[in-house]
C-alpha cells in the first residue's frame, strides 16, 4: 500500500519543509521563552546553592539579605557559632553596583566573603573555571565569567582597585547580575564607607558643631570623626549546620535566643521565587501562555491552509472512491510530520540561540519533551478541522471546479 501522505509531501517537499522550518522558528521562540522563565527561577536557586548556607541570619524582621536590605553587627557571628547545631558561620555582604574596569562598567553584585579559609567558608564560590580562589585579605577579586572580566584585569570598586585572580560561572544574583567576590573587609568599606567627598563634608559638618569641637578639649573632634568613619556591619551571617542537626530547630533557637530573623533554605526559596521574582516571572509566564496559544493557532491555520490548497486533489480522490479514512490519515500524518520537523528545528534553534541571551536561558529536557507532545497534540487537533473540511468536500468539485 502506498502512503498517500508521503507521496503528497514528496510532491511539494520544498514547500512542506519550508513551512516546517517556519513553524520550527515559532516553536523555537516558545521554547526559548520557557527557557527564560526557567532561567529566572534557576538564577534564584543558583544564588542560594552558591552561597552554600543552610541558614541565613539577618536583621530582625527583614527579608534580607537578597530581597531587602539588612544590616547586622560583624561580631555577631561569634555569638551564633556558640549556638547548638551550628557548624560554621560566616559574615557576608551583598551590594549590587556598577563595577568599573577602565572605561566600561558592568552591573554586578559585589559579594564580600571571609578570606583565608582553605576550601571556603559559606559564601565562597563553590567552583572556578579559571585562576584561583582569593588568598589575600585585601584587593583580590573572583569574578563571574559573565562580567566579561578576565584573569589579571584590574577592577575599581569605590576607591580601591582589585586584581581578578579567578573566574567562576553561573554565580548570579536573583536578578541575574553576575557576581564579583571580594574580601569581606574591603566589601564592608565599599558598602558602608562614604565616598571621599562625603567624608570631607561630614568632617566639616562635625567641626562646625560646637558640641563636638570644643576649644577646651583638643582630641574630641578627631575622636568623633574616627567614630563616624568606621564600619562594622555586614548584611547577613551565613550558617552551615552540623550533620544531623535539623535546620528548623537550629533556626528556631537562634530566633529565640538571639532575637534575629533566620531563614532556612525552604523559606529563602519562598522569598526569592515567591516574592522577589514573582511578578516578573508571572509576566514571562503570561507571555509564554500567549505565545503557546498563538503558536497553536498558527499551526492550525497552516495545516488548514495546506489542506485547502489541495482541496481539488482531495475531491478527485473522493471521486475515484478513496475511503474517508485514508484521506483523514493522509492529512493527520502530514500534520504530525510537520509538527515533528517544526519541533526539531525549534529545539535546534532554541539551543543555539539560548547562549546569545544576556540573561541565563535554561532549556530543560523535561520542557522539551512536554513541548514535543504539546506540538503533536496541537497538530493533531488542528488537523481535525482540516479533516472535517476535506470530508465535507463534494466530489463533483473535482470536475465542476
Amino acid at each position: 500500500m502506498i502512503s498517500l501522505a508521503g507521496r503528497d509531501i514528496l510532491h511539494s517537499w520544498g514547500k512542506f519543509v519550508f513551512t516546517g522550518v517556519g513553524l520550527g522558528l515559532l516553536i523555537g521562540v516558545t521554547l526559548v521563552m520557557a527557557g527564560v522563565y526557567r532561567g529566572m527561577v534557576d538564577d534564584g536557586k543558583a544564588l542560594l546553592d552558591n552561597s552554600g548556607a543552610d541558614l541565613w541570619v539577618v536583621q530582625k524582621d527583614t527579608l534580607g539579605p537578597y530581597a531587602e536590605s539588612s544590616s547586622v553587627n560583624d561580631d555577631l557571628y561569634r555569638a551564633i557559632l556558640a549556638m547548638p547545631g551550628v557548624a560554621r558561620a560566616a559574615n557576608v555582604t551583598y551590594l549590587t553596583m556598577q563595577v568599573k574596569k577602565g572605561e566600561q562598567d558592568v552591573r554586578s553584585m559585589v559579594v564580600g566573603i571571609v578570606p583565608g579559609e582553605k576550601g571556603g567558608a559559606p559564601g565562597w564560590p563553590p567552583y572556578l573555571v579559571a585562576g584561583r580562589q582569593i588568598t589575600r585579605g585585601h584587593y583580590e577579586a573572583v569574578a563571574d565569567i559573565a562580567t566579561g572580566f578576565r584573569i589579571g584585569d584590574v577592577l575599581t570598586v569605590r576607591r580601591n582597585r582589585y586584581t581578578v585572580v579567578g573566574l567562576t560561572r553561573r554565580m548570579v544574583s536573583s536578578s541575574g547580575d553576575p557576581m564579583v567576590f571580594i574580601p569581606l573587609k574591603d566589601a564592608q568599606e565599599a558598602q558602608f564607607l562614604k565616598d571621599n567627598d562625603a567624608i570631607w563634608q561630614s568632617r566639616r559638618a562635625t567641626s562646625a558643631n560646637p558640641a563636638f569641637n570644643r576649644p577646651g578639649v583638643p582630641g574630641l573632634l578627631d575622636a568623633v570623626n574616627a567614630s563616624q568613619a568606621s564600619s562594622s556591619s555586614v548584611n547577613a551571617v551565613l550558617v552551615r549546620i552540623k550533620p544531623g542537626a535539623v535546620p528548623d530547630e537550629v533556626a528556631e533557637s537562634i530566633r529565640r535566643w538571639k532575637r534575629l530573623t533566620v531563614y532556612t533554605r525552604m523559606q529563602m526559596e519562598e522569598i526569592l521565587i515567591g516574592k522577589l521574582i514573582a511578578t516578573s516571572s508571572k509576566q514571562i509566564g503570561m507571555f509564554l501562555v500567549i505565545l503557546a496559544i498563538v503558536s497553536a493557532a498558527i499551526v492550525a491555520f497552516i495545516i488548514y491552509t495546506l489542506t485547502m490548497d489541495k482541496i481539488r486533489e482531495i475531491a478527485v480522490l473522493k471521486l475515484i472512491g478513496t475511503r474517508n479514512r485514508t484521506i483523514a490519515a493522509m492529512i493527520m500524518q502530514q500534520a504530525l510530520a510537520l509538527g515533528v520537523i517544526g519541533f526539531a528545528v525549534g529545539k535546534i534553534t532554541a539551543t543555539y540561540a539560548a547562549p546569545l541571551f544576556p540573561k541565563y536561558v535554561l532549556l530543560m529536557p523535561g520542557d522539551s519533551v512536554t513541548g514535543f507532545f504539546a506540538v503533536l497534540v496541537i497538530c493533531a487537533l488542528a488537523s481535525v478541522i482540516a479533516i472535517r473540511m476535506a470530508l465535507k468536500v463534494d466530489p463533483a468539485e473535482a470536475i465542476g471546479g
Binding site: 561580631d75 583565608g116 579559609e117 584561583r132 588568598t135 585579605g137 585585601h138 584573569i151 585572580v165 573587609k185
Partner: protein, 383 residues
C-alpha cells in the same frame, strides 16, 4: 522515467530530514543538563611551598613630638611651617608672655626689697649684740640691774631671729624670680630633636590650653608601617621576617623591609594582629604619614608535600575534598589540607598522593553522577 524524479525528490527530502534529526539528537545530548561537563585536570605535584602573609597598614612615624606650652596662653609667633626641617634645640616659636615680664620685674623689685630688709636686719642684729655685750660688762661691775641685762640679751636674740627671717625671705624672693624666669623661658617652643614639622596646629594669636600641641615634629628616620593582618591568616608571624612593601602611591614598586615586631596586643574589634614593619632603606622621597601600604611577609619554605591548586578544593557539607579522575569518572576524595601560599597552592596532608589526576576547573558543580570530558581550558575564560 517517472521513477527517477520521484527518487530525486525522496533523496532531497532525506538530505534535509536526516541531518535535521542528527542535529536534534546531538543538541539534545550535548547541551543542557544531559551534556558532559567540561573540566580541566591537573596532576598532584610534590612541591615545597613558601607561605606568605598579606596585610595592609599605614605609614607611621615611630617618634612623634608634640610641642606646646605648659601653661595656657596665646601664641605670639611661630617661625616654622609644615615640611620644614629643624635642628635639635632650634627655636620654633614663642608664646605671648602677656603679664609675665611685668611679674618678673615686680619679683626683681621684691628681691631687692628683701636684700634691703636683710641689710637692715644685719645692722639691727649687730647693734643688739654690741648692746648686750656692753651691759654684760656693766653688770659684771654691778653698774646696772640684772633686769636690764636680760632685756638686752632678749633684744639680741630677737634681732638674730629677724636676721634669719630676712635671709630666708631673700632666698624665697630669689627662687620666686627664678621660677618666673623659668616660666618665661618655657614660653619658647624649642625642637627637642632633629626632624620635620608635620603639623602646625595654631597660628599666632590663637589661645591654647596647657599641654595642647602647637607644632608636631617627626623624626623621618624612624618611619615604620603599622600593618594589620587578619588573624585567620597570621600564623607564623615573627620578628625579622623579610617583608615586601608596596605603597599605594607607588604601585608596582616593591620596597624591601622586615618585620620589626609583632605587637603583643591584637585588635579585638577588627580581629587583626598588629605588626610593625620597617624599611631596609628609607625610600626617597619620604612617603607621607598615613599612606596606605600593602605588606607581604614571606615565611620560611616548608618541606615538599603533595600540593594542589586551591581552585580544586571543593566542599561537600563540611568535608573538604577534591574530584579525583579515575577511569574518566569523577570521584570525590576527602582530603585534609595544610598550609597555603599566596599563589593559591595548598598542601594536602591526607587523601592524595603526588601524580594523582584531579579536576581543577569545572564548567559547573560536579556530582558523582556527572559525565566529564577533559579539556585544555574551560571555553570562554580567555580572550
Amino acid at each position: 522515467m517517472k521513477i527517477l524524479p520521484l527518487q530525486r525528490r525522496t533523496l532531497a527530502l532525506i538530505a534535509v530530514i536526516v541531518p535535521l534529526l542528527v542535529l536534534l539528537v546531538y543538541v539534545a545530548l550535548r547541551s543542557g543538563p544531559l551534556a558532559p561537563v567540561a573540566v580541566t585536570e591537573a596532576r598532584v605535584e610534590s612541591q615545597a611551598i613558601r607561605p606568605a602573609l598579606f596585610g595592609i597598614g599605614t605609614v607611621e612615624a615611630r617618634y612623634t613630638y608634640k610641642i606646646g606650652p605648659t601653661y595656657a596662653g596665646r601664641v605670639k609667633r611661630l617661625d616654622v611651617h609644615v615640611g620644614d626641617r629643624v635642628r635639635a634645640g632650634q627655636l620654633l616659636g614663642e608664646m605671648d608672655p602677656v603679664d609675665l615680664d611685668d611679674r618678673v620685674r615686680a619679683q626683681e623689685a621684691a628681691e631687692k626689697r628683701a636684700e634691703a630688709a636683710l641689710r637692715e636686719a644685719t645692722v639691727r642684729q649687730a647693734y643688739a649684740e654690741t648692746q648686750a655685750r656692753r651691759y654684760e660688762q656693766l653688770f659684771a661691775t654691778r653698774s646696772t640691774s640684772e633686769e636690764i641685762l636680760t632685756t638686752k640679751r632678749q633684744e639680741w636674740q630677737i634681732a638674730d631671729a629677724a636676721l634669719s627671717a630676712a635671709r630666708e625671705d631673700l632666698a624665697r624672693a630669689r627662687s620666686d624670680l627664678e621660677a618666673l624666669r623659668a616660666q618665661r623661658g618655657n614660653l619658647r617652643l624649642i625642637a627637642p630633636v632633629e626632624g620635620v614639622v608635620t603639623l602646625r596646629d595654631a597660628d599666632p594669636g590663637t589661645t591654647v590650653v596647657a599641654g595642647q600641641a602647637v607644632v608636631e615634629l617627626i623624626d623621618p628616620k624612624s618611619l615604620w608601617i603599622n600593618v594589620r593582618f587578619d588573624q585567620i591568616s597570621a600564623s607564623g608571624l615573627a620578628a625579622d621576617l623579610p617583608a615586601r612593601i608596596v605603597l599605594r602611591s607607588r604601585n608596582g614598586q616593591t620596597l624591601e623591609g622586615r618585620v620589626l615586631r609583632v605587637e603583643p596586643k591584637a585588635d579585638a574589634v577588627t580581629e587583626e594582629t598588629l605588626v610593625k614593619a620597617v624599611f631596609d632603606a628609607a625610600p626617597t622621597p619620604l612617603p607621607p604619614i598615613g599612606e596606605l601600604a600593602e605588606v607581604t611577609v614571606d615565611l620560611p619554605a616548608l618541606p615538599a608535600t603533595p600540593v594542589i591548586p586551591n581552585a580544586a578544593v571543593q566542599r561537600r557539607g563540611e568535608q573538604p575534598g577534591v574530584w579525583q579522575i579515575t577511569d574518566g569518572e569523577p570521584d570525590f576524595v576527602a582530603v585534609r589540607l595544610g598550609r597555603t601560599d599566596l599563589d593559591g597552592r595548598v598542601q594536602v596532608l591526607e587523601g592524595l598522593k603526588a601524580g594523582d589526576r584531579i579536576v581543577v576547573y569545572s564548567e559547573k558543580a560536579l556530582s558523582p553522577k556527572s559525565r566529564i570530558h577533559v579539556v585544555e581550558r574551560i571555553p570562554g575564560t580567555s580572550r
